[in-house]
Symmetry: C2
Subunit: 157 residues, 2 copies
DNA sequence: ACTTAACCTAGCAAAATAGTCAACTATTGT
DNA sequence: ACAATAGTTGACTATTTTGCTAGGTTAAGT
């Protein structure tokens, strides 16, 4: 389990998607604008997320991306694993050069630790994160903004 | 909290140090040989660990490095944090450009998650990891002893 | 003095990260 | 049918991080 900014980008984008794709698909352009991530970088990340079966692309006007599963069925560990290269189990990938070595022992130790972190992140879903914090405040504000837009369009004078 | 191979190297080296520095300081050359990490890279890592007050260097012949604290008082999160750059809190470092933005909210969300991981790793000490290692060694030794016992009982003459 | 090993500095190659550009294909509203 | 939208792909570039090399200086034991 590797934790870098790449994983953070992926989780952030998925959070954005989860939040905004309730009604209709969300374009990467929108996510890029909201989260200040470059569009093309997002394309790369979402290509991996799509291959991992986490999101689905909808083409044509009104298209975009939407989640394949419920937010409660998508966990953080899977998102991060999807955008990262499958970490090669390093030097002692079961080979003979590292059987009775102490290097292999500490390696096992680290692998165990890594596994614990993965399990920990597997226990946190998108829904958990969405539930937290002042996300609702944003909902209210954005609803308000949307209302204003409606007002403007309603009275175009 | 960032999790990369760099942090793994640091934890591995600290484990080696904790395991071998019971009697006298351990040279980086020894650790480099045992853990197959380049000497100079270890020097870089230990420079940071030293500045973080986790290890102490002893110069001259018979010198090397030793831990500043008990293994039970050294946790994994601190080791990893010591060798990593202090991650700039990114774009919205409390500035005005990101106050009511949604980008800042998801950022907060990620920071919260990161904090959870840090707390989790803070709860794991070197002593904890060593204990596991010890258990394994004991298991191996006991297996070996058991074999000898079997031998003895097989040829009791 | 001489050796040992920490400590320091600069630099470098490979990899990962982050982002750009351009061409292409599929879908849909009009 | 056609134009607009939006996903898809691949190649390409810049920056940062990683892991390592090579060369020193400094402190402490023999």
């Amino acid at each position: 389990m590797r934790l870098t900014t790449k994983g953070r980008y992926a989780v952030t984008a998925m959070l954005d998607l989860a939040f905004h794709s309730q009604i209709k698909p969300v374009t990467l352009t929108d996510i890029a604008a909201r989260q200040t991530i470059s569009l093309s970088y997002l394309e790369q990340l979402f290509a991996r997320l799509r291959r991992a079966g986490m999101v689905k692309g909808v083409r044509g006007p009104g298209g975009g991306y939407k989640l394949c599963r419920k937010t409660s069925d998508i966990n953080i560990a899977d998102i991060i694993a999807a955008v990262n290269e499958p970490l090669d189990s390093t030097k002692c990938g079961g080979e003979a050069n590292c059987q009775k070595d102490q290097a292999c022992l500490t390696h096992d130790l680290w692998m165990g630790l890594s596994e614990q972190i993965r399990d920990y992140l597997k226990g946190i879903s998108l829904a958990d994160l969405l539930e937290k914090n002042q996300v609702q405040e944003v909902a209210i504000r954005q609803h308000h903004d949307a209302q204003q837009v409606i007002e403007i369009y309603r009275h175009p004078d």
